[in-house]
């Protein structure tokens, strides 16, 4: 049983085949990167895995369970969290509250019990707050906890998004271009962070165009082009692959 298994996955937009007969798997405890030219279908694949887009055909299994067609929140409850290529933080909420939303999947009190403050609501609320703080401290954002998330500088918004995803204590985290807009120093910090995430027991699935980062930290690399899988391998294998070089990397790499 693979940790995440994608079988014959397809997604069309009108006549366009954004993802096409994709077969791939992710192994637990490793960092897997997905690369490929712009418009290759990477973000679409992430959207399919997290249920944000319905699949056209194909199946997705997470820890052996068929998650195809499940709504996004159910998939999140199974332990899949993600960040977005275009940052999607809740700019109407504070930094802390953003992360507290991340703990949503680890709490359960509903509208009714919340309204009546039934026993357990307060302690759960305290749990959520404490957890959120834990992750803010890890990401070194705790001093900004009460700030409006929308006013954070760009780089910190990216980190906040990761904190929010981690607060769900996911088994698998999907990161869509986490390094975009960061300079090399910041990118270096990011690679350290990603390794930390892995060490904390979360499997990482990553889309990124920064080859230095990808080649440095990933164990496996999946390469897409025009919706198709063109190859899969270790960084050194992929770097030497002719198809990858012509379609994506260019000569120098």
């Amino acid at each position: 049983m693979n940790f995440l298994e994608i079988k014959g996955l397809c997604r069309n937009f009108g006549g366009l085949r954004a993802v096409c007969d994709l077969n791939a798997h992710i192994e637990a405890g490793r960092i897997t990167a997905m690369i490929g030219p712009n418009g290759a279908g990477k973000t679409t694949a992430f959207n399919l895995v997290t249920g944000l887009l319905p699949v056209s055909t194909g199946k997705i299994f997470f820890q052996g369970k068929d998650i195809t067609g499940l709504p996004p929140h159910k998939i999140a409850f199974l332990g899949v969290a993600r960040t977005f290529q275009n940052i999607r933080i809740f700019s109407n909420m504070s930094v802390l509250e953003n992360v507290m939303v991340g703990v949503h999947t680890r709490s359960c009190k509903g509208m009714f019990s919340s309204a009546l403050r039934l026993p357990g609501v307060s302690s759960e609320e305290k749990f959520i707050r404490d957890e959120a703080f834990k992750y803010l401290e890890w990401m070194e954002l705790a001093h900004l906890a009460s700030m409006d998330a929308g006013n954070l500088p760009f780089g910190q918004q990216r980190i906040l998004e990761i904190a929010r995803a981690l607060a769900a204590k996911p088994k698998l985290i999907l990161l869509d271009e986490p390094a975009a807009g960061l300079n090399s120093q910041e990118t270096n910090k990011l690679s350290k962070l990603i390794r930390n995430i892995l060490e904390s027991g979360v499997t990482v699935f990553l889309v990124e165009h920064d080859m230095e980062l990808v080649m440095n930290i990933s164990h496996d690399i999946i390469v897409l082009n025009n919706g198709f899988l063109i190859t899969r391998g270790t960084p050194s294998e992929v770097q030497r692959n002719k198809d990858v070089i012509t379609a994506y990397l260019g000569e120098e790499h």
């Binding site: 937009f13 366009l16 690369i35 490929g36 030219p37 712009n38 418009g39 290759a40 990477k42 973000t43 679409t44 290529q85 275009n86 990401m139 070194e140 001093h143 500088p153 760009f154 780089g155 910190q156 980190i159 271009e177 975009a180 807009g181 960061l182 300079n183 090399s184 120093q185 910041e186 990118t187 270096n188 910090k189 350290k192 962070l193 165009h209 080859m211 379609a247 994506y248 990397l249 260019g250 790499h253």
Partner: protein, 242 residues
């Protein structure tokens, strides 16, 4: 050709630029580098006339363009490919490019330029009738870049044009930058990827918290120890600074 003297900019009460002096000569490629929040985007916005609250001077060919309406600045030949892409999401790719040529009235020339953009980015050509909002991140970046070219600017302001682009396309974009530089155009380039930026540019300025802390020709800067450490990413100290 473009001279900025003691530029200060404010967002409400926050001062984002604290007196920046920059000059760009005709035909030059100049890059601005600096950490997150240093004020690079703010500088470009100030030049494009998007900010209300600025002080200091911005001169184009000796004439002040401070407090000039943004559309007039575009008319004077300054175009920008903004950070965060800012494509017109509910319009299709063709319309986005046509609007890039909004200030021009030569229909046929415009059509030809659009074809040229499509040659540069075949990916866009395939998507010409798709709504810009449905494009992938990288495709949108290409579109924003192409749209800025469509006004046939004298000065091109590029804010992180390589964000989210595949390595091959980055090369493509940089070869375009070199090509338009050869055509005699002037470019002010903001890049996170300092290595790349220094490679194409003649000169560069380094910004830090709203001030120019270092400037010089690109080749000088590449050698500089400070730059090496801070922006070219050789050593890493500390984790996630403030």
């Amino acid at each position: 050709m473009l001279v900025i003297k003691n530029l200060e900019a404010y967002y409400d009460r926050i001062q984002a630029l604290k007196g920046i002096t920059i000059h760009i000569s005709k035909g030059e490629v100049v890059s601005l580098i600096g950490a997150n929040g240093a004020g690079k985007t703010t500088t470009l916005h100030a030049i494009s006339g998007l900010l209300k609250h600025i002080e200091g001077e911005i001169l184009l060919d000796g004439r002040s363009i401070k407090n000039t309406a943004p559309e007039k600045i575009v008319g004077m030949g300054i175009a920008q490919s903004p950070e965060g892409r800012h494509v017109f999401a509910p319009l299709d790719v063709l319309d986005n490019l046509r609007l890039g040529a909004y200030i021009r009235s030569d229909r046929q020339e415009t059509a030809r330029d659009i074809e040229w953009i499509f040659e540069l980015f075949p990916r866009l050509a395939e998507r010409r009738n798709n709504l810009a909002g449905t494009l992938s991140g990288g495709e949108q970046q290409m579109l924003a870049f192409g749209r800025a070219l469509m006004s046939r600017p004298k000065i091109l302001l590029l804010d992180e044009p390589s964000t989210g682009l595949a390595p091959l396309i980055i090369k493509e974009i940089y070869s375009v930058i070199e090509q338009i530089k050869r055509d005699g155009k002037t470019i002010l380039l903001v890049e996170q990827n300092a290595k790349l930026a220094l490679k194409v540019s003649d000169r560069a300025y380094v910004l830090e918290t709203g001030k120019v802390v270092l400037s010089g020709t690109s080749s000088e800067l590449v050698q500089s120890q400070d730059i090496q450490r801070a922006y070219l990413g050789s050593s890493v100290d500390g984790f996630l600074g403030k």
